[in-house]
């Protein structure tokens, strides 16, 4: 399988990464280089093989459903590029 320019534009949109028009063709080449190389996986017979979900056999741990943290809004927002009081600031989302 390979990608065309429209697919490259579509996945860049899905990934929320701006891709300038002159970067579309080189990216198409680079992605197709990788996709051509992984194509060899198609020759493996995977009939009846379960996909791996965990490398180490263990039951997922459970913990009590209690609050163990909180009231640290200053720490949570300390690294925000734009903040006001304890809010993250973004461009207007709803008209």
């Amino acid at each position: 399988m390979s990608v065309d320019k429209d697919t490259v534009r579509r996945i860049a949109k899905l990934a929320r990464i701006a891709l300038e028009e002159e970067r579309v063709a080189p990216m198409e080449r680079e992605l197709n280089g990788i996709l051509a190389w992984v194509e060899q996986l198609q020759e493996v017979n995977v009939e009846g093989v379960a996909p791996m979900t965990s490398v180490v056999a263990q039951k997922l741990k459970m913990r009590d459903d209690v609050v163990t943290d909180g009231n640290i809004a200053d720490a949570v927002t300390a690294n925000a590029p734009m903040r006001e009081d304890n809010f993250f600031v973004v461009p207007k989302v709803v008209e």
Binding site: I17, Q40, V44, L60
Partner: protein
């Protein structure tokens, strides 16, 4: 005990004994390493140096030693890969998108080290988000290897992604360092810099507070100058951590106590599929030598087959980018990290421009591959198939364990290469991890040990692979290789003025 002529020549084990025996203070040791770090600026091994913090930690250690309250790593200066969040100290993951990120919390692995008394010298440079095998994808410029080929001044890469840590250990800028390994990022740089690197079993070290790349593969581990040092450091990095649901509930053994058990009667498997076309003859010769060394010490050498080996690397380049595309979705220019300064009209544009500016070329490429293989209509053909092949790879290992206790393989397909030599061809760069990546896909422990030099005088390593949570046997076998190889070569000290 005899002190080395330079404090920076200490192994971690010897420094530990000297500090505990009050032959040298942590402050003296820390000053010596901080100076070595400063003098080694041309190697670019560190993104952030923390000499002031190091001195404060050393003074606190010296006070504890005076009171007779020394802990296992008391006063020992270490370097920390810049993927581990350190409270109040900038953590970049080698990326522009985290250029200003100061974590308000400490990763479990580093907290364990500080709780054991260790001292932080600084944060080491790395490939951006640990995606790379040469340290050339770092936003903070490539790290140089302290090694150079005979009669050459050409700059060589230190491997990656833990290239800064490998250079720092190899050039004696620290007693040991932390690394992380998703496809070979501890073992490959260790091998090409003549140092020891251990990727533990998945779940042995907590992933909490370590910047995520591919969560089902990422694992932290030690990078050191000797196998003993790796055994010591692993014990104090590993823990059972309720904050990481994949951290395994098993007590952490004293790996150093069993280190000298030897390999008598140990069954060592040689996987025939690791013999690859076009590998330099030196790699095969060293591999044979490694088998002979272990045999001479009483091990039994058996040939085994891991038939799905050749599919490991392509499967990895589906699984790892898929998980990365999900993990890296969190960088949005809103909550932390880089935010575009360009004019924007809506929040989608804010995301798109912030991420385009913040991520480098390799990271963007992998996010797009990951997004594609997970997108509607392609999931079964790519991701689901790759995860099935992972199951087959794990089954290969399980069958091999019926015939052997550990595996011996080359660590890399060749020695360190020149800066820029492979950066234009992603697939040829990816092939550096051909011997290491199988271990990540199966979650097993793998150890790179320096074993010899090429004709050009560059280090090569061998790899020991073990059963899940059998790091003790892996370290034992590694120690036997180390003893037999007697690797004493060090790079020429060309970088200091």
């Amino acid at each position: 005990m005899l002190l080395p002529s330079k404090l920076t020549d200490f192994t971690l084990a010897d420094a530990r004994d000297a500090v505990a025996g009050k032959k040298v203070s942590s402050t003296e040791l820390t000053k010596a390493f901080s100076k070595a770090v400063t003098d080694a600026k041309p190697l670019n091994a560190f993104v952030t140096e923390t000499p002031q913090k190091a001195l404060e930690m050393a003074a606190a250690s010296d006070a504890r030693i005076a009171k007779g309250e020394a802990r296992p790593l008391e006063g020992l200066p270490l370097a920390i890969k810049d993927l581990f969040c350190t409270k109040g100290v900038k953590t970049t993951a080698g990326s522009n998108i985290l250029n200003n990120f100061i974590p308000p919390y400490e990763s479990t692995v580093t907290q364990n080290l500080w709780d054991a008394g260790a001292v932080m010298l600084g944060k080491t440079n790395m490939d951006e988000f640990a995606m790379g095998s040469s340290n050339e994808t770092s936003y903070y410029k490539p790290v140089l290897s302290p090694w150079r080929a005979k009669n050459s001044n050409a700059a060589l890469v230190p491997g990656g992604s833990s290239g800064g840590s490998a250079t720092a250990v190899s050039a004696n800028l620290c007693l040991g360092a932390t690394g992380t390994d998703t496809g070979g990022s501890i073992r490959q740089p260790a091998a090409v810099t003549g140092t020891v690197g251990l990727k533990p079993t998945y779940g042995r070290c907590s992933r909490w507070g370590t910047v995520a790349f591919a969560s089902s593969l990422d694992q932290a581990g030690p990078m050191t100058r000797t196998v003993r040092d790796a055994a010591i450091l692993l014990r104090h990095m590993a823990s059972v951590d309720p904050k990481d649901s994949t951290s395994v509930d098993m007590p952490v053994p004293d790996y150093e106590a069993t280190l000298e058990k030897g390999v008598k009667g140990l069954r060592v498997g040689i996987p025939k599929e690791y013999r690859i076309d076009g590998a330099p003859p030196e790699i095969d010769a060293l591999w044979q030598k490694g088998a002979d060394w272990l045999k001479a010490q009483g091990a039994e050498i058996v040939e085994v087959s891991l038939p799905h080996t050749k599919y490991a690397l392509p499967a990895y380049y589906i699984v790892a980018p898929a998980e990365a595309s999900s993990n890296l979705a969190r960088y949005d220019g809103v909550r932390y990290g880089h935010r575009t300064q360009q004019p924007i009209h809506d929040i989608t544009e804010l995301y798109e421009k912030s991420r385009a500016e913040g991520f480098g070329a390799e990271v963007r490429r992998r996010i797009l591959i990951g997004t594609y293989v997970l997108s509607a209509g392609y999931y079964d053909a790519y991701y689901s198939r790759a995860q099935k092949i992972r199951t087959l790879i794990l089954q290969d290992f399980e069958r091999a364990w019926e015939a052997c206790d550990v595996l011996l393989t080359p660590a890399t397909p060749g020695p360190a290469f020149a800066l820029g030599e492979k950066s234009n061809d992603p697939v040829s760069m990816y092939l550096n991890d051909v011997f290491t990546v199988t271990v990540n896909l199966a979650g097993l422990p793998g150890l790179a040990v320096p074993a010899g030099l090429t004709a050009d005088g560059l280090p090569l390593g061998l790899q020991i692979i073990g059963k899940a949570f059998d790091e003790a046997t892996v370290l034992c076998a590694g120690r036997s290789i180390e003893t037999a190889a007697n690797f004493t070569a060090k790079p020429q000290h060309w970088w200091a003025a």
